[in-house]
Symmetry: C2
Subunit: 428 residues, 2 copies
């Protein structure tokens, strides 16, 4: 163990690396780095250079995922995986994804310098397709390492009509090699991803680090409320069937349902379309969306049932029709309790008192969870702002997170007490 | 008095006349008759022919208003005015406006045949610009007879760029003659307009006729609610400033205010714009409209103040900004109590039990109210539907309305007991 862990130095170096990576962009005045583009290539090359500087053996898989490997006691030793993604949204911040690639490289660099040795191997993975900014696919790279890549993804097209498969070949990859990108589940211990929070909780709590309990499941619904158009001046209030007022009550019911769940559930009505949408006509039809997320699938399902019930109650009372249809469903991915505990203890050893919280946003860990237990470490970001040039995490907080990964790896025992990780997982 | 008033015959004839007028349209498959068009010309000519058949002297003023005159005891005798409009919206029904031209012609025809004589003169007016379908002006024709025509209207342009003034000249009129279209207030007794209700109240009440108590004043507001955008998955409910949920509460408060006014006030949120309007982003800004109408200006002002107060209360509680601005204000035009009573008594003499109600829609009477006391008679229309080919009033109801006008004229005393009408007006 390295008692004099220089987290400030690690944080400063992380900031430098993120600045350097942010220079690689499709645009001169803002950061945009899409999957399988020249910018992706240059970003991957920079990450590979850093990995080599940290003593890692670098390879690249059929999806362009850069893999930095630190051997364990034997070539067949099971591996602990770290990683995140280096693609960005358009006009992005520099922390989202990249932080989770830079931090484990810095941690492994520190460990190499401090003479740390482990019986297990360690891989750092830099995925290229998390944001889904280019193709209408997402998590294709992390799906490949988990062995769940769907060949149908190859037919997807970007906004210029370029097929995923053709872009992949132009990037120098052969789709025939994708199956070989998959890890053998028997040879993987766990996957740990560090990421900025992308929300305001840590800032509000005044804590630099968060332990993710689960990547929230999400339901997206389209709700159509049908009433009766009418002249805004001539139809008395008691004779109206105003679709908008029904929708307003439903939106407030949805808020109440999320708040009363009391377990971090969030619900958002983000899009509202009113017909006919004239100043002097009673709304006849309203279509709105609901985005509902929870760290518990049971809680989410219960909320959806209550939402359905309350929407129909409102509709019945007001003489309206209502049709609810789900157009997107992703189940909750729980983080492995044992990994949560280990990450929290590592953070605590550096004086942090991390906040336990679900992740409302999606991450590569969702795909990797099909391969092995996953854990996630959140880093406070200013104002909760993400997907925006104003995205910011302080060097001090990033240093603490790098130090947490160092301590996590130093304290990691493998094989630990027989089946410890698996048992914890089965009870999750 | 004509005891054997054939209301069924009058209604059947009204339906025939409305059918004939509805054939005059800019379109072969639906009814569209705009101001100062060839269709307006043909419609006006047909109305003039009916007027002559009813024994009226026909003239036309500088706005194209057809005026059918029945002389009183002397050429200078004060006149009782009846009328409505013969222009339509696009794809219109055949009753809106035209009914109020056809019914008094039928009433005067009946009275002429029954040998009725009156000391006062009677004019039937067919206005051509009530709907505002062609120019962004409205009530220009009724404003002219009231002496309140604004010359600025002449500069208005239709959607083809044609100026109001040029259209008027092409119609064969000279703007210099507009002042001469105004009646001398000292020579006018009152104005009475029959109109379909354009709302569902009479149908719901099961009564064919309504006595209008006032043409409702209206306020139109734009309400802008400002919150804070955020990731739908990562911002906990307690940290949100969701502009849409604030707007939803305000819309429901507006409904409550109108219902609790308990005096026929109606309020409508018809248009809603949500920004950024994405499924997974907390709404940062919502702009919505409010259309508020009441037969009492005091009641409307009180409601607006309460609306302002409650909107700010909601905004404060949710940490939102709110700005309310009025973009349209029209004061209430009360119908003359004495005319209401006379119309009701005339209807009652035919066995009807008319419903007293405000008019939520606007009418030519609003402009004419600047000239003289006004009264309005509503006729039940099916489903409350108007501005639509499905618009319908039954021959039986129209006949009862024509009969009511006959009785109203027969019983009208002028000069009545000294100052009777004026006194009633002053106490209104």
């Amino acid at each position: 163990m390295s008692p004099s862990l220089d987290t400030a130095g690690l944080g400063a170096r992380a900031a430098e690396m993120l600045d350097e990576l942010a220079q690689i962009s499709a645009s001169a005045d803002h950061l945009t780095r899409f999957f399988l583009t020249p910018e992706h290539r240059r970003g991957a090359d920079l990450v590979a250079r850093w990995m080599r500087q940290a003593g890692l053996e670098v390879t690249e898989d059929a999806l362009g995922t850069v893999r930095g490997h630190r051997p364990g006691a034997s070539p067949d030793a099971p591996r602990l995986l770290f990683g995140s993604h280096i693609d960005t949204v358009e006009n992005a911040g520099r922390f989202d994804g990249c932080l989770g690639v830079v931090l484990p490289i810095l941690a492994l660099d520190w460990l190499a310098r401090s003479g740390h040795q482990a019986p297990f191997g360690i891989d750092v993975l830099a995925f290229g397709d998390e944001e889904g900014s280019r193709f209408p696919t997402t998590l294709s790279a992390s799906a490949a390492i988990a062995g769940i890549f769907s060949p149908s993804m190859l037919a997807a097209r970007d906004s210029d009509g370029v097929r995923f498969e053709d872009a992949l070949r132009a990037y120098g990859k052969d789709p025939a090699d994708i199956p070989a990108a998959a890890y053998d589940p028997a040879r993987v211990i766990a996957y740990v991803e560090a990421h900025i929070e992308q929300g305001p909780v840590l800032e509000v709590e005044g804590e630099p680090l968060g332990i993710v309990t689960a990547i929230a499941g999400a339901s997206r619904l389209s709700v159509t409320v049908t009433g009766e158009a009418g002249h805004a001046g001539t139809v008395p209030m008691r004779l109206r069937h105003d679709a908008l007022l029904g929708a307003a009550e439903m939106a407030l019911a949805i808020e109440r349902i999320a708040v009363e769940a009391g377990d971090g559930m969030v619900a958002t009505v983000g899009r509202v379309h009113v017909e006919p949408g004239a100043v002097n006509v009673i709304p006849a039809r309203v279509v709105f969306t609901v985005d509902l997320r929870s760290g518990s699938d049971l809680s989410r399902r219960t909320a959806l049932e209550r939402l359905e019930r309350e929407a129909h109650h409102v509709a019945d009372r007001r003489g309206l029709g209502v049709v609810i249809s789900a157009f997107h469903e992703v189940g909750t991915v729980p983080c492995f309790p044992d990994l949560q505990r280990r990450l929290a203890e590592a953070a605590a050893s550096l004086g942090a008192r991390p906040v336990w919280m679900p992740s409302g946003a999606g991450h590569d860990g969702q795909a990797v969870s099909r391969l092995c237990p996953i854990g996630m470490l959140f880093v406070r970001c200013r104002g909760g702002i993400s997907h925006n040039p104003a995205e910011y995490a302080s060097p001090a907080d990033m240093g603490l997170a790098a130090g947490t990964l160092v301590r996590f790896i130093e304290r990691f025992e493998w094989p630990g007490p027989a089946g410890s990780l698996r048992e914890a997982g089965e009870s999750a």
